[in-house]
Symmetry: C2
Subunit: 385 residues, 2 copies
């Protein structure tokens, strides 16, 4: 019995060690403020809860079509019309077990072993692990504040090689919260289309953008994969439901792969998600977005005051990626000490790549302002210890 | 944009075409008897429904640990103790999005591209498509009534080569419903252990075995992967929840892979499944098993009467794999005609491999005896047309 080679490239989540330690401390009676968790602290929307419970009470939680409930695919098509004024045929929309499932399908149908996918460093670590999963090579391109921590058409041009299959752009970015500029997104897609490569647009933080709303890759091309999810904006993490929009050419392949590797997405989650788009619900979600914005402003101001450097003010998601080089050049140790001494849990930069990662910390503002205020106090004590 | 090479090997499900046609006919007002569906016709257990709805109503449907709820892992460990008298540490048990998720993890951590996995033909088609998913080669070994449609130690020996990584045995088998004899299972595992290969035991139809209960691979070795699910015996298909037991050596790799490719299994399903093991529920499931047994007996007798050949009486799952060579040598066309002319949907043998598949039909007795009786009448009319 051997462990498969692909596991070598699978980076662990360093934050997991912190999480385990946090749990130990909590069991021992310490209060921990969690600013490491990438999940909204709000409950799932009332209309979704009600519909989910109602569906379960029927007892008829059966397989659905592999591509998802036709009604839900239609609802998402309508949502694209409303949000981005684009017409996406429902046949191109696949319901998936979270954005994770969407990434599995998108790369599974398009990436061959030995091929490379270009992505920004820093980025969400699962994205490059998915590439390794299929025997591909994740080409991590260091990005900086100059490009708002996003890839550009020029960077893509510079790094595209024979074996390059495509490009992932995640906007708003996890961990930086920055949104790619419309022009840049357009140019990047055009560049990848020019190479006849695959453009994978990770849009799972769409909806959680504070100033002008983010643009979808679908506004500029039909030849893109778009990954999205009910987890973040819709506060439905544990339901494990997301979606994938695919170029027409891939419809049949995605359908076959979904049948085989998932059978179907949880059906109670699908029936519940049908009720995610009510006007009342969307109003509540917009209200929550405003709360996230207030938290961002609060946290941003205080981090700057304490001496962290944040070269681009994040415009979305619920993260601030802060340069802590004034205090340490080992942000992992910094995070461990902060947890141990002050009970504040954050995520070290090294979970997001190699690009100066030891000088960065990701703060998630998935806690109330009251809690964030306490965390700031504790952080201040920690820094002036 | 290219479609990845792995998709070439992904066989479609031929039954899907039948299903689509069945839906058309139903929309046009025809009544269809479904004997093609691999999903129990019973609702999910009352205790599970209640717990699932209660959990949803809290609104707190958040990510869980990637390996699953510790309480649920413990419950499954207890269940192994009760059912098979084996001690499995909960750390070796991973909660997965259905048996599909369990297979993804098991092969993902142990199979390298270019390596082969031996499995029986006929077998469940997803199992070999999973192997292709990882760039492996599914070596399908024709099996017959002589070995109850299962692999044996001798067959494994005969087909094991340098590049062979492991063996899948699914018992009870889908499509044949046959259970591997205890001695044969033991010897097969010993043979694979001897080669230091991986033994993957697909036990998703355990619980649904009518005479002596099936033996788990875990009774004979700790160095096996066991795939199981709440879908079949527990009637929880749409909840998408199963589990994987892994050899100790693989715990860390499976954990890392699960974090990356799933984040977690649907959490409402996990909280619900905690209540699957109550005595009252298990009594109800045993009662359902008896109903399945009655259906098997009824269907078996009538199929034989009509001239189908069933060389081994199936002992579990809810399938009869019947030789229809007296009537046709194109069971796919037979299935299409049967649907069109009589409104009875069944699955053609070619969905399960190449081994004389055109002479076989799979009947699923996931319908009441009353419905099966009507199907038999219609089948009789069809055969004497």
């Amino acid at each position: 019995m051997q462990i498969a080679d692909r596991m070598e490239g699978f980076s662990p989540f360093y934050v997991m060690e912190l999480l385990q330690r946090a749990k130990q401390l909590e069991l021992a009676g310490r209060e921990i403020i969690h600013m490491e968790v990438g999940e909204p602290d709000f409950p799932s929307p009332a209309s979704v809860i009600e519909a989910g419970a109602r569906k379960i009470q029927t007892g008829e939680i059966k397989y659905t079509a592999a591509a998802g409930l036709p009604e839900l695919r239609n609802k998402i098509a309508e949502y694209y019309q409303q949000q981005y004024a684009v017409n996406i045929p429902a046949e191109r929309i696949f319901i998936t077990p979270g954005a994770s499932g969407a990434f599995l399908l998108a790369l599974g149908v398009s990436l061959n072993p030995g091929e490379a996918i270009i992505m920004a460093d820093p980025c969400y670590p699962c994205n490059h692990n998915f590439v390794r999963f299929f025997g591909g090579h994740a080409k991590l391109i260091p990005v900086s504040a100059t490009t708002k921590y996003h890839l550009t058409a020029d960077l893509i041009k510079q790094h595209w090689q024979d074996k390059t299959c495509g490009v992932v752009i995640a906007s708003p970015s996890n961990p930086t919260g920055t949104v790619i500029a419309e022009e840049e997104l357009k140019k990047a897609i055009a560049q990848v289309n020019h190479y006849h490569g695959c453009f994978y647009s990770d849009e799972i933080y769409h909806g959680l953008v504070y100033e002008p709303p983010a643009n979808s890759a679908l506004q500029y091309s039909d030849d893109v994969f778009v990954i999205n999810s009910f987890s973040k904006y819709f506060s439905m993490t544990g339901w494990r439901i997301g979606w994938l929009v695919v170029p027409e050419k891939f419809i049949d392949a995605v359908e076959r792969m979904a049948q085989n590797i998932f059978i179907s997405t949880p059906s109670h989650s699908q029936y519940a998600a049908l009720h995610a788009f009510t006007e009342k619900n969307l109003q509540e979600l917009e209200r929550r977005k405003e709360l996230f914005k207030d938290r961002r402003d609060f946290l941003y101001d205080h981090l700057l005051r304490l001496g962290f450097v944040i070269p681009v003010k994040p415009e979305g998601a619920f993260y601030i990626y802060a340069d802590c080089s004034r205090f340490t050049n080992d942000s992992y140790q910094f995070a461990k000490d902060l947890l141990e001494q002050q009970g504040v849990a954050v995520t070290p930069g090294k979970d997001f790549g190699n690009n100066d990662a030891n000088c960065y910390i990701r703060f998630a503002y998935t806690a109330s302002i009251a809690k964030i205020a306490v965390a700031i106090e504790k952080l201040e004590q920690f820094l002036t210890r």
